[in-house]
Subunit: 417 residues, 2 copies
């Protein structure tokens, strides 16, 4: 007997019929003789409806009150899912985040899980009941209702799985969602993309940061830290999905597991600025204070003179221009250039660590296709190229093809068998 | 400085505009220099929507899960009302029933308040904040979310007012609703009905049991037990409303303060049954087991033979007939008669205790109008007559007139001034 944590997202519990299907999924595991803890998100658009309601009451609602409001969304879901389980003969009990033992800090709207007390969960499991837990929420140490912010329900599921040590008994954290797994690229952009049988935490993290919507980076990080195997599966289809797990030696045999495209980027370049200690701090402090998320940063230097470029979302260019200009004024030297219409193509793979020539293969393929590369950034397991958006989709297809990504899924599945 | 508990019902917080008006009401009291605790119900029809949703998931949802679900309705309201208060510059903090210190027993769906810990409320008040508390709900001693059932929000308000000893400092429990007070009769049935300035707990209790929707009997009982003055007021109009309070000597000067009509009654009569100890127990045990609420019971005896009549709602007659027939079979003697098309007219007043001839005056007036009375039941402060429904509305008007009820409101208001 293993313990499985099954998480169902908002779409999966969007109406009574879907809730019944989720209950069926849970029952299946229970009938196999396993113990199950269920984590659910708020139904479909109910979160949006609550935000809309709040906006009609106040233009600047306090975060604490918003959390109190938002937390009701998951509470509705858990009650209904528990009812649906009871209806098909599975004893179940709904629990708020607090009742499930999830303690957070007091940062309303983006609280962090500080402690999970598994006493109640274990007691319910011991009684043969399926605890159905509100995702996305907890209780602060002073008893206030908090929400975990984006990716919160995934984080709840992985945190509970970690606390219950599901891996030790052969269980895992199953994330049921509206896609059937992690693909080598977005299938809407690359029709030949293949579904991965498994992916390492680090690879998933990079892909998630590059915009793969399957899992929130935060939950992946949590999974990595506590070694929780995370199984991404489609909530309505029986497919096998993708397992996110620790890196294994076989994983390194595959150079690249995924390619991603980030659109609508702009580039800000500060050229001929002083190459002093602290210039970067000044610049990015000013950008951060303007509330702007920076994508990639690239710096080059020539003696006492440096150039810094960074990419941001298109929509932030106007604000970033103001912030960067002020910094240049303080430097008393240098020039500012803003470019629009850029995109970023990235390839990700643990195998890069043990294979040479991965970057070269990508650059050569893009070069052969006549696609100019404006900037390059790399991490240990990722290569990103900034290029003109008119080349973006073709560059993605080329990168996907050159690393044989359309075959990776099939190869992995074959290896698993 | 006094403490006021202000309760707003579902209609009063039905949409953002109404919520803003409630906030205005609260601010008024705060601006007068008083401390305020707010209790709110779920918005408008949200409770019905939740029940509908549950019925689509399961035809027999467990009560515990229903409570988990229903409790979200009030949680949405408190968050929104707190936001609305903050928006108009009144510091406020929303609290679930549990956070507000309300402990109940574990009877889901009809839990009883067993303890109120006023620590959190007093702490918030001391900080200058208005606690906005979920009505209708609490937390059991094992941490389960419970709901109090019908009249629950009124009960919450009165319980908090009792705990905070509002009366000692000149405060009270203000129930804001969609009527502007307690009337001597339902103004839709008796256009000349007058609004009462004050009414005793016992009188209000009788009227509530007779169907006056203003306050739930349970909350009135709670108010009486702890001596909490309850002020019933219209949520959108500035009228003075009606104060429900302890009986005073002046109150006894008025014989009758209200007249009520209960429609669609049927009467079940068991005639010529054995006049033994225990027959009543057998009969009403069988009726209760069939899930039927009995209205009034009347019994007469002639030596070894007795007759028992009781009234029930029209809709229950078929069920009650089956249950009563079985009991007759056990007796082996007696006959069963069922009558339909009955109504009950009642008059209520503390003054009956010190005035003779109240009943006679009512019977005489009905008799003079040619209205036959089928049954009579009385309590210390109430007289009820069962009669044909074709006479009901006229009998109500006659009873109202014979005790001068159209003048009672004005007399009371004059006395208050």
């Amino acid at each position: 007997m293993a313990v499985f944590v099954q998480k169902f997202g908002g779409t999966s519990v969007g109406d009574p019929e879907r809730i019944a299907r989720c209950a069926g999924r849970v029952k299946q595991r229970v009938d196999e003789g396993h113990q199950v803890v269920v984590v659910v998100s708020a139904m479909g658009h109910s979160t949006d409806d609550l935000i809309e309601l709040a906006s009609r009451v106040s233009d600047r609602p306090e975060r604490r009150e918003l959390d109190m409001l938002m937390a009701t969304g998951e509470q509705v879901s858990v009650a209904l899912v528990a009812m649906a389980l009871q209806r098909v003969g599975v004893p179940a009990v709904s629990l708020t985040g607090g009742q499930a033992g999830i303690t957070t800090d007091g940062a309303f709207g983006r609280a962090r899980v500080t402690r999970v007390d598994r006493g109640r969960l274990e007691a319910e499991l011991a009684e043969g009941r399926v605890p159905v837990v509100c995702g996305f929420q907890g209780l602060s140490s002073t008893g206030e209702v908090t929400t975990l912010g984006r990716g919160g329900s995934d984080t709840t599921a992985v945190a509970l799985a970690a606390t219950l040590r599901v891996a030790e008994q052969g269980g895992c954290c199953e994330i049921f969602t509206d896609v059937d797994g992690v693909y080598t690229a977005d299938p809407r952009l690359v029709p030949s993309a293949s579904k991965l049988a498994r992916i390492s935490y680090q690879e998933m993290l990079e892909l998630a940061l590059l915009g793969a919507q399957v899992m929130h980076p935060r939950a992946v990080l949590f999974g990595e830290r506590y070694g929780v195997p995370i199984h991404v599966r489609h909530s309505q289809r029986p497919d096998e999905g993708t397992m996110i797990c620790r890196e294994t030696p076989e994983m390194e045999e595959v150079m690249v597991v995924g390619a991603a495209l980030k659109q609508d980027l702009g580039r800000v370049s500060l050229r001929r600025i002083p190459n002093n200690a602290g210039v970067q701090g000044l610049l990015f402090d000013a950008v951060a204070k303007a509330g702007i998320m920076v994508d990639d940063i690239m710096q080059t230097e020539f003696g006492e003179i440096a150039s810094i470029s960074f990419t941001v979302d298109h929509g932030d260019l106007a604000d970033v221009k103001i912030a960067a200009s002020k910094v240049l004024d303080r430097f008393g030297t240098g020039e500012l250039a803003i470019e629009i219409g850029l995109a970023k193509i990235s390839v990700v793979g643990t195998g890069m660590k043990s294979h040479v020539g991965v970057a070269a293969r990508m650059f050569t393929a893009l070069g052969a296709a006549g696609i100019p590369i404006h900037n390059i950034t790399t991490s240990e397991i990722k290569i990103s190229c900034i290029l003109g958006k008119e080349h973006a989709q073709r560059a993605l297809a080329i990168s996907h093809e050159v690393f044989g990504l359309d075959q990776v899924g099939a190869l992995q599945h074959a290896a698993v068998r």
